[in-house]
């Protein structure tokens, strides 16, 4: 009986990458480099190409939410409740912002500043689709957006700053991006606090243990006066540490933001 031997050299058979795969690697690396160069030279092109897919994703997501909500017996009640909760959040935030602005104006009798006109932008991509706590907006330089502009959510809650802008799109780095540090205040006494983003809209901060920081107090950022960014939901203390760790829940949930205002 004849034994058949493979003609493929052993080195080729045992190689981690075959010539075909090697070619594919070259092509893939080329495409990857092309994408990176495209992003660096024409930052708006990638967002323009991707925006139909982002919109389709939003549409599918909303359609599925609506479908599943209607399928359940209490679908309408659930939808109505969600709307009321959203409205309540917006109104609460607006009321807080007005109360703070009023307090400021009372302190500064005779002086006042007019709020500038903002640019309304639609959110194309948001967490959890975006892995970096960034938003992609559909307005860019053409509409007057520039780097470091402030981005406000529903009710004027501060969300982040514009970090990258092209002609027709912009990317926002949220204040809650992991590791991002922002200065703010807590409570009516305006105790200075350094907020550290932990992702998903949430923050932590360290305060002296004997500082009068309690659950339920509002946390403000010095954006357009003072705007509420979140509420303290937990204060962790340790008898062996002089500091307490404060956990802050955001006013605006970045996972469900549809429209923002840029200033």
């Amino acid at each position: 009986m004849k034994t058949q031997f493979s003609r493929t050299p052993r080195r080729a058979r045992n190689a981690l990458i075959t010539p075909g795969q090697g070619m594919m690697v070259v092509v893939v690396v080329f495409v990857a480099l092309l994408l990176l160069i495209l992003r660096a030279v024409f930052p708006g092109v990638t967002a323009s190409l991707a925006s139909p897919l982002w919109s389709a994703g939003d549409g599918i997501s909303n359609g599925m939410n609506g479908f599943f909500a209607q399928c359940s017996e209490q679908g309408n009640a659930v939808v109505e409740r969600a709307r009321l909760v959203r409205d309540n959040t917006v109104l609460t935030e607006r009321m807080n912002a007005l109360a703070v602005a009023n307090a400021d104006l009372v302190r500064l009798v005779g002086t006042r500043t007019e709020a500038g006109v903002g640019i309304v932008a639609s959110v194309l991509a948001r967490p959890p689709v975006s892995p970096y706590d960034t938003l992609v907006l559909d307005q860019g330089e053409v509409a007057g957006v520039t780097k470091n502009h402030q981005v406000l959510g529903p009710g004027g809650a501060p969300l982040g700053t514009i970090e990258s802008v092209s002609a027709t799109s912009a990317r926002v780095l949220l204040y809650s991006a992991p590791g991002r540090v922002t200065e703010g205040w807590v409570g009516d006494a305006r105790l200075p606090i350094t907020l550290r983003g932990v992702g998903g809209g949430a923050f932590t901060a360290s305060v002296p243990r004997d500082a009068l920081v309690t659950v339920g107090q509002s946390v403000f950022l010095p954006v357009a006066g003072a705007r509420t960014i979140g509420t303290i939901i937990r204060v962790d203390t340790n008898p062996s540490s002089p500091e307490a760790i404060v956990h802050i829940r955001p006013v605006s949930n970045p996972f469900s933001i549809v429209w923002v205002e840029i200033r």
């Binding site: 893939v28 994408l35 990638t46 982002w54 994703g57 599918i60 991509a125 892995p131 780095l173």
Partner: protein, 85 residues
Amino acid sequence: MVVQGVLVTLAFLGIFMFPWPLTILLIAVASVRMPFMALLGGVLFDVLYFVPGAAYLPWGIVFGIGGFFASLIVHDFMKTRIMAR
């Protein structure tokens, strides 16, 4: 082949539509058969969503390169196992 096509399509669409942990899972599964998916997925994530200050490193590219070589090894191992049968 059809399953591969579906996986690649889902992983690609996931970058624009699905939560990123699910997309990474899809990319990981797809890259077992097609190692380039890890690299392309990682680069695409960073091209679309990364901005300076968002992280110390563009993790999509870093993990994409790592995933690419890891899946090459897994792919080679699977091929060897199939040939040995």
